[in-house]
Amino acid sequence: METLQLLRTLSEARGPSGLERAATDVIADLWQPFVDSIAVDRLGSLVATKNGSGTAPRPRLMLSAHCDEIALMVTDVVEANGFGFLRVTAVGGVDIRHLYSQRVVVHGREDIPGVLASLPTRLLPEDRRSGAYGFEDLMVDVGLSAESTRNLIRIGDFVTFDQHLVELVNGRVAGKALDNRASVAAVTICLEQLHGRAHVWDVLAVASSQEETRLLGAATSAYRLQPDAAVALDVSYATSYNAKDSINVELGSGPMIDQCINIHPGINKALIDAAKALEIKFTHVGYGGNSGTDAQYIQIARAGIPTGLLSIPQRYMHTMVETVDIKDVERTGRLLAEFVVRLSADFIDTISAEMLEA
């Protein structure tokens, strides 16, 4: 599939944290042709296995890209003028400043479109008139009678953002859930590339659940699968007109290879070597503390798992207009495939020994 279409399919799938099934169904269809087995586990993560060519028991590499997206949840159904309105709360790190006047889909007994609304400033309580809206000011208007609303929607129903993928100039696209479906696309490209190439290691591709809320899918999958090594994929900050920081890199400058306390130096080096071998653009980024990605919990599963992290530069993270460069997604997929192909049977022994070498 062309990468643009791949991103469109993935971005428009609906998989809020905790209810990823619709998204994992889409991903399973995409991965199926390239893998030996595939299943959803009880916490909602999709796990696909592609067997390696080495002699069994083969070492196993886990690739983890979370497939959940930030969303909202209904906390109350209230009535005015005979109509039903929904009070909502955040699922994951929703930036409330983006919500007013957004189109949404409420996943009630059926999918119901709605719009996020509020009173005009002059009708808000005096202490709420300046500053961004809060959840106490916002409500979803579904345009149905209070009775229909109550019949179709209950407290606890998920609400996702309704935004189609938009093509920008320069091979860039914008849409919802590209955090982290852009990485899922990269894993898809990797699996497709590996389809025609020999690799010694088994590859366990995981579309992990509930990253946005608590890194749940990565933690539990890593524990259950017990891989010998892992690479997590996520999006990271790209510079934009209103976001400049030393960690930010330009859109289109290739994947970021992250180094922080979650990362094993041996995996980090192997990722850099693979990027250099392919002569693709990449940025080596370093920072203090935890990455806040799947890598953080994979590293500490059981007795510890050597883990690396690739990030795709992205603008406007946690909005409905998350923006990535298609080339960066493709480069990340190719880099990942190259990394997998280059893994030797004794890779873990080598990087372990280096820990005690001066």
């Binding site: 922080c260 306390i261 080596h284 920072y287 203090g288 503390g289 590293q299 372990s352």
Partner: protein
């Protein structure tokens, strides 16, 4: 001069970059243990087999890492932006000398001269600090320093009579104590020494070490903040310098096992080792992660009181240190299965 403390506190090992400490400790213990290895996150774990009298598996933990900084920019204007690793008060940073990376490139953290600072700037906590290695532009930094290099404070170990001053007592003092334990006689049980990484940034090392070793009992040797400075109000100080090692009951992360707390107190009393109960409250040690890494592990922390925690210049009492090692050794030697058997 305590050569072990000097050696261990002067080596650099900021959280996430503990390799130099790992290699030094390996050299210090390798002739005194039956096995050792580095694990997937960089912990150094050593096994000192027991005499066979007891079937307990006991783990003793001290963390190798120290607080410090990490380079996060490529220094396009010749100076380096950084992140903090571990809890560092910004007021600690200005006017300090640091060493960057494996090659220990020296750098300084300065401020605009006081003469040029406004009244308001003079009384504010400095922000937007940079490390200056003397480079005029990015090209002069290339090859010397790279993004993600770790940065340690520079401070030398100095003894001042009853006390010693230096960096990284938290927790190289614990590491030194474990080295001394490993160099002693065998214990009745197999003793696993876990020199762990990343305590200051979330205790990842202790968590996976505990999962791997699966001990029946764990003792954490820490360096515990002592706030026994002149203070008008008679409220909680955490510990006092010179009053002996401290025993933890409760902190933000752990309810230390009441049976082990009692056991350590009884060992201290029996051997006339002075000790103090670390006043309950904030803070935390590796004990919590060890306790909860997998199935429950009884844990206790024994701390060496250290003043001026999380600065380049901490201070300990050398008598406290001796008693700390003595207490850890005595409490371990007297540990039996009965210590952790529940009556109900």
């Amino acid at each position: 001069m305590n050569a072990l403390l000097k050696q261990l506190t002067e080596v650099n090992g900021v959280s996430g970059d503990e390799k130099a400490v790992r290699l030094l400790l390996r050299d210090l213990i390798k002739d005194h243990v039956d096995d050792y290895w580095a694990d997937a996150v960089g912990n150094l774990i050593a096994l000192k087999k027991g005499t066979g009298e007891s079937d307990l598996r006991v783990m003793v933990d001290a963390h190798m890492d120290e607080i410090g900084l990490v380079v996060k920019s490529d220094g396009s204007d010749g100076t380096l932006e950084f992140d903090k690793l571990g809890g560092i008060d910004n007021r600690t940073l200005s006017g300090k000398v640091v060493h960057i990376g494996k090659d220990k490139i020296p750098g300084v953290i300065g401020l605009k001269p006081v003469h040029q600072s406004s009244i308001r700037e003079r009384s504010a906590v400095p922000s937007d600090l940079r490390i200056d290695i003397g480079a005029n532009k990015k090209e002069e930094i290339n090859g010397k320093v790279k993004i993600s290099d770790h940065v340690a404070f520079v401070s030398s170990y100095t003894e001042l009579g009853p006390t010693a001053i230096g960096k990284a007592f938290d927790d190289r003092a614990g590491c030194a104590a474990i080295v001394e334990l490993l160099r002693g006689e065998r214990y009745p049980f197999d003793l696993y020494a876990a020199f762990t990484v990343q305590e200051e940034t979330g205790m990842a090392g202790a968590l996976v070490a505990s999962y791997r070793v699966k001990p029946d009992v764990a003792v954490v040797l820490e360096c515990t903040p002592a706030y026994d400075l002149p203070n008008e109000k008679d409220v909680s100080a955490n510990t006092k310098l010179g009053a002996g090692p401290c025993i933890y009951v409760m902190d933000n992360r752990t309810m230390h096992d009441p049976r082990l707390v009692k056991h350590v107190m009884e060992s201290a009393e029996k051997h006339h080792i002075p000790f103090q109960i670390r006043q309950p409250g904030g803070g935390g040690t590796n004990a919590g992660k060890i306790q909860q890494a997998h199935i429950a592990v009884p844990v206790v922390t024994v701390g060496l009181p250290g003043r001026h925690a999380h600065t380049p210049n901490g201070m300990i009492s050398l008598d406290d240190y001796k008693n700390y090692v003595k207490l850890a050794d005595a409490a371990l030697r007297e540990l039996t299965r009965d210590t952790i058997t529940r009556n109900s």
